[in-house]
Symmetry: D2
Subunit: 300 residues, 4 copies
Amino acid sequence: MNSNVPFRGIIAYPITPFTADNAVDLPTYRRLVERLVGSGSHGIAPLGSTGVLPYLTDEERDAVTKATLQQVAGRVPVLVGVSHLTTTGVVRHARFAEQAGAAGIMVIPMSYWKLTDNEIFQHFDRVASAVSVPIMAYNNPATGGLDMSPTLLKRLLEIPNVTMIKESTGDVQRMQALRQLLGEDVAFYNGSNPLALAAFAAGATGWCTAAPNLAPELTMGLYEAVQQQDLTAARQLFYQQFELLQFIVAKGLPRAIKAGLELLGEQAGELRAPLQPLTEAEQQELGRILDRVQVPATAG
Amino acid sequence: MNSNVPFRGIIAYPITPFTADNAVDLPTYRRLVERLVGSGSHGIAPLGSTGVLPYLTDEERDAVTKATLQQVAGRVPVLVGVSHLTTTGVVRHARFAEQAGAAGIMVIPMSYWKLTDNEIFQHFDRVASAVSVPIMAYNNPATGGLDMSPTLLKRLLEIPNVTMIKESTGDVQRMQALRQLLGEDVAFYNGSNPLALAAFAAGATGWCTAAPNLAPELTMGLYEAVQQQDLTAARQLFYQQFELLQFIVAKGLPRAIKAGLELLGEQAGELRAPLQPLTEAEQQELGRILDRVQVPATAG
Amino acid sequence: MNSNVPFRGIIAYPITPFTADNAVDLPTYRRLVERLVGSGSHGIAPLGSTGVLPYLTDEERDAVTKATLQQVAGRVPVLVGVSHLTTTGVVRHARFAEQAGAAGIMVIPMSYWKLTDNEIFQHFDRVASAVSVPIMAYNNPATGGLDMSPTLLKRLLEIPNVTMIKESTGDVQRMQALRQLLGEDVAFYNGSNPLALAAFAAGATGWCTAAPNLAPELTMGLYEAVQQQDLTAARQLFYQQFELLQFIVAKGLPRAIKAGLELLGEQAGELRAPLQPLTEAEQQELGRILDRVQVPATAG
Amino acid sequence: MNSNVPFRGIIAYPITPFTADNAVDLPTYRRLVERLVGSGSHGIAPLGSTGVLPYLTDEERDAVTKATLQQVAGRVPVLVGVSHLTTTGVVRHARFAEQAGAAGIMVIPMSYWKLTDNEIFQHFDRVASAVSVPIMAYNNPATGGLDMSPTLLKRLLEIPNVTMIKESTGDVQRMQALRQLLGEDVAFYNGSNPLALAAFAAGATGWCTAAPNLAPELTMGLYEAVQQQDLTAARQLFYQQFELLQFIVAKGLPRAIKAGLELLGEQAGELRAPLQPLTEAEQQELGRILDRVQVPATAG
């Protein structure tokens, strides 16, 4: 691992908890970050989709960035989400993250109007010129509203400090096409939880996931099994957590992780409207899934 | 027309022009609004997708709202876009628009995380409780990221001041299903330019469109022909502008309207990054389309 | 109307009924064809999707073709479906239909392997060379498995006796694009029942539909209202049958028409497996829809 | 391996070659089958999509079935495709295949009208009742026109001799869902070439593929590497053939395999219209891909 590609393995995404009066609850947030570091995550990624980045004000984003870096305190690298609808906004947050000590920043080209490939390239290029920290280009049509082709991603990697790609289309063929197009040295990361096993098989450098909030032994265990080429163990660990991964994706990560943390006895704060908690029935279903996940894990 | 449904016919969408140093260019904006009123639009809708609502700060949005109402000065009703990712944000902008004198407000449930039907209902309900101005619920999966079913839209109409629906899925069957489900008194508006004729045939109350910036005689003419049950004339006027409607949708309304205005000799300001102007070739194509649109119009 | 474009208005599709021992029930079929002619249909189209063309043997198809032409006996033009997976097969059935007296033949490029544009062109060209009867090119990705672009359809129209296009994608914009690309003289037909009103507004020459089996006054009435430019009446007649059109499409035309005919007191024979009758609950739903459709029609 | 699940590993699909006058070329066919057996395939599957099953007459299908079983002569198990649009047709071909000595039969519920889950179940149930040979249920929406859900596939497996599932949606999550729903003993096969590595990682019993016609060392090598848990080797072998797998899928298996065989110096007969050979440019591209595939294979 070099300084241009400072992430590998399990990159864990904390949620952003809110107080009853709709402010960011930083003390609770720091406890949740500490849990992720303590359970062995190889990196921490604040202000992702899980962290409801687009629902936060600029000042709230700054506070979360600072709190993360203080709490992690250099134990693992921190990847800060700096996306914004305007290019000017991304530059502002990218600079703040760099100054705060982020090892890398993540940029998803958020859309409202569909951007052309050229607009996306200019967007990344202007951000990259403003900082020297490595950049992870993040493709997630379902949340960002734009689908960056492998060809465009290849072009983005020509920008010197764009060194990493996070793929969340949910299609393993897209990762394979990236690997094919870019060679085996490309650092690509899987952001689609149900594809964790397939992505590692395809050569992913890491897995960007909120699952370590709820089942860290399984997420870390899967990565270790793949590292040791123990495909049988990897497969067994993957299927053990597959139902949980499907659930948290289907229900939305912020809602599902908050509910899961509370079922595990952790304080997880409130959601920010329009997001609402899982229904009672959904919480019970998650409880049953967590029970099934935990039992074999402690037995294993 | 009653005060609960203050819009009919052609509701025109201005772009938001920017200065060279990335500020909102209010003088240019007011001239563009004046053009739309002067050419016979039946309503003005600032801060829509065409007006790059999501790329503006709260303060910029306030300034555009005030400038619109001052410029229009009661000649036609004004429909202000007040969407925001958070519920709190929508309430803030809804109140501002009401106090500024808007005849109605438009809310698209912007997504990042897919919202559940219940979250969307709560979102609208909280906004509706905070104001008394009529609300247009806007469905546009392509820009908003969420698709509200006819069933959900029916439920939203049970909120007293949610009285209008704007449908922009691009599927006329959706409008027909709404009309079927809600009865012939429902006020539904077409927001998909290439469906203008089909939507009026299906019973749409109005057409929300940026096209009057470039071809007002044709947009207004289509509405009048439909009103007079002259289907032959309506069809002829529609196909005369169909190529233009396809172009502005395909290229993105802010980019295409800006380019078109300049081709027509109007100042239209700058775009805000990441949006970039049309390429030279695209501008030439638009020029040819505008030539074809204009010639028969002056001849007819 | 000229001999190259022998169809306009309502082109009615009979089902193909089967006996209890899985043979084509020709006497019942002829009665159903007679009903369609008697209720004012402007054309009859055997061996379409409604007639379960792909489930019939070559000999059964020949028998249905002959029976149709004998029963119709020149009162209205007959459009025979001659599609087959192989080019040789289409040529065989096209020749048979021409010799039997069809006014036109319909060809949908059935797929299994997706065909290239060039393969589709060759397919039509070889069929067109083998007969002199006018050909309707039929685009229906949902049943045929292939989507022919407006550009490809334009190319097909360059083949001398390919003179008509039937569009069943369910997207009125596709018809508009055809009309835009091909000029107002193109003969295009709507094959998507829920788009009947929008398609006529867009300039369709005819509507290919199985609905006259169940509500002939409404289908013929809609066409007449459009001819007389009475948009209000057309809209009222359309919404009166819209629920029925949605139902028969959603449940599959052969199943739904058979069930509807029986609810109306007609014998409609058996379906051929794997097709099965509608469930009891579906039949009851259709009964309620037919009741609602009939009452206003007799009152109006 | 037991007699209910007689297939594992690489199940190879021959094309069906035709003579210049459009007849099945059985001598060429038998040579192509011999090549597949000789290069180590673990099973042979005539009359699949690759073998253009739907373009053949009943008599041609019988002849291909017999020729395959005679040529293979018990060296590996044979899986005969017996699909037909009608239930009666499937029963007929299923009985023929069983009597001819097939170890299993494959049924894809071919559509024209979308079939309901109940119709699909009845279809399989009637076929299964007519034979005692094990049945592989094949899901491939792209060619068959129907998408069978994991839940429906689970229901099909309750029919005693439906014992295997072939999944070709191209989505590895579907295979994972099957494995999750059905337990680790389910025999599922991957029919999507670009998913070969991901499917084996997910636990697939076998890979149904036409690729052994062109690169048997790589297909067989991938399976062996997975068996030996050598993930690094498996990944290397997969990427070595990935470009080829993408190409043959994108261009259509019958066209691409025929062209590839000829580039490798084999006679491969003609295609049946409407299928046409690859263009010259496509053949050259395939030639370059085959060159790249071969070189490392001989070096490795």
